[in-house]
Amino acid sequence: MQRTPFSRLLPGLLAAVLLLPGCYSRDDLKSDAGNNKAAETTEASPDKAPAAAPSPEADPSSTTAATGSLKQVNVFLEVSGSMEGFMPKTGADAQNTRFQQHVAQFLSDVNRSASVQRKTFYRIKEKPYRDSYQQLETTVREGIREPASSTSIPAILDTLVSHYYQPNAVNVLISDFIYAPRNAGAVPYIKTDITDALNAAGRSDLAVSVYGHTSDFKGAFYPAMKTAAKRINRCCDTDIPYYVWVIGPADAVRRFDAALLKKAPGEQAHFGVKYSAAPSSLLNKFQNQGAWYYGEKDASKRAAGATYHTVAVSEVSAQQPVEFVLGMNLQALPALYQDLGHLKANLQLTGQDTDAKIVSVFGATDQTRASSGPEAQYTHFVKIRVTKMGKAARPLQVILQDKRPMWITQWTTKNDSNINQVGAKTFALSSLIDGVAAVTTDEQDQAPIFQIPLTLQPAD
């Protein structure tokens, strides 16, 4: 009676309301005071009006921050001897490695990207040397001409954060990240070395995204542990990992990840990157069960786009459990945090006086996407079951803890001197990552990736 026809008109009405300030502003009223501001305002209004018109259709304002372009990206490619196997000189057989295909494509993507204003490319020998895009692309495709002697990872990281760190810009480092400490006694200090290097310039908003890939490898392999041999010639029968590290201020790293590495193949991990809250809502007509409804005061208005986070339960027992689904839109997050396996392992539910637990985590299907209900807006769903609850309103939180993904441990080896047997692993990778995590996260108070506060209350 009060709602249906009116709600259809609502978008139009909104557009009209948004147009109004463009046509008639407070400045018009002020013009009484003797200014000739009124003339300016009326002149400006035709420009403002069309700009305001499309805004109701566009996404909420948060997207503007996400789409704003980065000022600069510096791409660093390590060209020491240990990288030669990834970029063998093209022989008569004209074979190339997956590293060459992937990195060449990545460099091209960066060079072409509209989300970064300025792109610079460097070869890292003893220190970074400026290259043009074409030069670096040629190096990747045709092999390293003059391999540099090994450069230590901490030294490179130190240089990057000290001299190339800028607001609204990121540094991308492509390397095998094999860090050979001087002797076996120095192995326990790998973490500290990395921490100190990254902390050298004392950047408080430092963030690092690590992308792990593997590639076939055709050349000499220089193991970090030289117990068996200093180099393994004509290596390798196994794939060798290499990494793309994105280093910079947290906000810039997040935006670079979203713009260029959204669909990155391989593995990933993120350190110190902050994400804005993911849109979420309870869904009262999607796989729900039991006697509960939205506890919000204005739930009956069912405004378009409204989200709900309060569960009012009228009856619950072991025989009559309540099940509700929380829809989340995780599109803005990196692929790692959209991965169902990672979510299933790391999504937590915390509550008081209740046995509420997560029953299942699942992704959007063609059916949910095509639905006319609110579930169509969400990419991921968490189903929660309750059979017992407190006598009054209690908070309930869905949290994605910042847990390190499993692959880092799996890709780590303590001894790479016999790499063909060890497989596609990197020496002391988890120690390197420990070093990164020590700089980017506050170990006392680990912030979760996201947390969605809900309220569980008895129905009134």
Binding site: R3, Y293, Y294, A299
Partner: protein, 130 residues
């Protein structure tokens, strides 16, 4: 007001499916309750004051005429609920028809009460229904 209608209509149990509870309590119950009262009052006024006083019709004051209006009122009360359920886009459920039946019963009641209160003011039907 909301809590009064909520009491009235939740005598047959809470709304089903539970997810629509806020819509029923805050929109559907007040709407159908007020409409029911208003329509019952209107029919009573038409019967006693329009037909049997202002228009001076002399052949429409028997019990069966009063009953005709009574049943008409109940029918309207029933239809109002089904229409409201559709208009508010609540989920289809047999509860809608239970609620409609309850509203029809309230319609009978309201019509009877208004009749008892207002019949004295009629010239031709002041003794209908008794």
């Amino acid at each position: 007001m909301q809590s009064f209608f909520r009491f009235l209509y939740e005598l047959i149990g809470t709304p089903q499916p539970p997810a629509d509870t806020p819509v029923y309590r805050q929109i559907v119950f007040p709407n159908i309750g007020l409409l029911n009262l208003g329509i019952s009052l209107a029919l009573v006024i038409i019967f006693y004051y329009l037909i049997n006083r202002a228009m001076g019709v002399a052949t429409f004051n028997k019990l069966r005429h009063w009953t005709l209006f009574l049943v008409l009122n109940a029918l309207i009360a029933f239809i109002v609920v089904v229409w409201q359920a559709k208009a508010q886009q609540v989920t289809d459920h047999s509860y809608i028809y239970w609620l409609a039946t309850l509203n029809a019963v309230y319609g009978l009641l309201f019509y009877f009460l208004f009749s008892v209160i207002l019949r004295k003011g009629s010239t031709n039907a002041s003794t209908t229904p008794f």
